[in-house]
Amino acid sequence: MTGWSAALGGIVLVVAVVALPALAIADNCGSIGDCWGTAAAAAAAAAGAGALAATAAGSGKDDDCEAERAWAFRCKSWVDTCKAQLKYYGDQLEALKQPADELIARANELAPEAQREVAEAAVEALFEKLGELVTMLVAPEIAEAREVIDLATDPAGAIPGMEYVRFFQEISSYFQLMSGDLDGVAQFADEHNLVTAQRFVETMRELQRLAARGSQLGNKMDEVRVDLKKWQEELDKAEAALQACEAGHAAAA
């Protein structure tokens, strides 16, 4: 007998010595009918008492690998959560794509007329800035980012919106670079009441807000993808540990 068995055997003895005399003096209602209105109610209480005794005795534990199984389940649950979150952000991102395309198209439409207005005002430096704004808008980086990126090897799989992350990040970077130019054009257009240039600026501002929102969502998706990868690794480890535990207990049996 190990030390543990001896110690716990001693506890059992003490409980028996201390508790059982007390049990013997236990009183009761006098009859079952005093405590319960019907036999069925008393039977439910008896069954409930048995269920609680079974819980206390741990009879509901039918799983030697419960801890490993629980951890694997939690990892799986995190993986699912990360995927659900990617989908949530991805849906929002996808919803931004069409308005962004429309705004870019409108900006490109307005650009020649806006350039003409600025040229007529004979401000050479500003004409160049506007030119840069339009050029950047159709720059190869952004055009390329608009293409669907191959996600075959991505753990996120076919998460909607994933392919637009880079697009919005590029647009957002573009606005950070062009912020001063846009402000300059806006101020000049207001001062000289250049209607088309003002509309162009408004369109660009709208696109800027959309790009900021899209970039923010994209950054969140990037963070969640990192988490997803880590939880997927954790899940793989947890499943391996569970399999090892089950194999170990099967061998012991």
Binding site: A22, G30, C35, A46, E223
Partner: protein
């Protein structure tokens, strides 16, 4: 301050508990999801400890035991299902408070016999409260996740709703069983000190216990939905992931129970079950019968005196635990009804004791060990 407290409740305390009881560690870490509301995650467990500690002396209507207050039990049910550490702390606070300041013994009556009777009865009430505040949420979580949802449409929202419903049903069912059993098992708090259970102590569980069941089911379902739809899809997810990862960082999860020799486990169950069922006894012999039966069932389940047929184990383990719990309760109730209604005289509690014992045996039969499959 708030950050340190969240770290304490969701990382440090569970890691400490993981070293000897991973289940307790899981219960303590269960409140991490409330980090969406930092003040709640930081202060709720501490507040629960305070409420539990003061309740034996200050809670309105609570004179002898917590079952006298439906409101207190509602707080326990809602708190424990909503956040594991709140349940653990309510229990801890109540036990400490009852032992330190809630004793009914006067200074002059502090004799050994009186102390044993009072503390013995209270020990049973503590075990019952532990089942309500800690065990039920954990067991219900386990039962809910054991039920495969593969046949449902792949829409995550449908599966989430199904999981919420299963967790709600699990918590509701177990709370219902708790209410039924506690009606009889709480009696030693009174009978062991030569008193009679009062209507005030039994009625909130027996008559209005359905409110506890409804609250348990509702809070459980709501928690699953809020946690998965709101918290886990929000910006706080990264914090949650970080808390979970740091809790697991050292990987020290060792169940003291599993490391305990099988003979000692059986001995512990043999001591605990007769104590818990004391409210159903008429005399000495009942305790002896329950102790002998519990020891025999434990030894049988452990494979020391025969083992469950592999075919039966295979069949039983295919059935979800939630269904098996319902089945064991229904079978136990039918058997107890037969005993109480016809076979035995109704002038003692013995048929109730036998009914409880048969239900216990049914649970053992329906929950074989996985190793019996071999």
């Amino acid at each position: 301050m708030v950050g340190s407290l969240i770290e304490f409740w969701s990382v440090r305390l569970p890691r400490w508990a993981d070293r000897w009881s991973p289940r307790l560690g899981d219960a303590l870490a269960d409140g991490a999801w409330t980090v969406q509301w930092p003040a709640l995650a930081a202060y709720a467990p501490a507040a629960a400890l305070g409420v539990g500690f003061l309740s034996p002396v200050l809670w309105p209507g609570m004179r002898h035991v917590y079952t006298e207050s439906l409101l207190f039990m509602l707080v326990v049910v809602i708190g424990a299902i909503g956040s594991g550490p709140v349940g653990v702390m309510l229990l801890s606070g109540y036990v400490i408070g009852r032992l330190l300041v809630g004793s009914r013994l006067s200074a002059s009556s502090w004799d050994f016999d009186g102390l044993v009777r009072e503390r013995g009865g209270e020990l049973i009430s503590f075990v019952l409260l532990a089942i309500l505040a800690v065990v039920i949420p954990l067991v219900a979580q386990r039962m809910a996740r054991q039920i495969p949802l593969d046949r449902l449409p792949p829409d995550p929202n449908i599966r989430l709703a199904a999981h919420a419903a299963l967790y709600g049903i699990g918590c509701g069912l177990l709370t219902y069983l708790w209410c039924q059993g506690t009606v009889v098992l709480i009696r030693p708090v009174f009978t062991w000190v030569h008193s009679q259970p009062t209507v005030e102590a039994i009625s909130p569980v027996q008559v209005t216990g359905r409110l506890l069941v409804i609250a348990a089911a509702g809070v459980a379902a709501a928690r699953v939905l809020v946690e998965n739809l709101h918290v886990r899809r929000g910006p706080v997810l990264a914090t949650l992931v970080d808390l979970e990862r740091r809790r697991r960082a050292d990987g020290q999860r060792h169940s003291l129970w599993r490391r305990t020799p099988i003979a000692a486990r059986i001995a512990l169950a043999t001591a605990l079950v007769p104590l818990l069922l004391a409210g159903t006894y008429t005399g000495w012999i009942d305790a002896v019968v329950v102790a002998a039966a519990t020891a025999a069932l434990g030894a049988w389940r452990a494979g020391l005196i025969g083992r469950m047929p592999a075919a039966w184990s295979r069949l039983a383990l295919k059935i979800p635990a939630l269904v098996r719990v319902m089945g064991a309760f229904v079978i136990g109730q039918i058997l107890a009804n037969v005993m109480i209604g016809s076979w035995l005289a109704r002038d003692s509690f013995r048929p109730v004791m036998l009914g409880a014992l048969l239900t216990l045996a049914t649970f053992y039969a329906l929950f074989p060990q996985r190793r019996d499959l071999a």
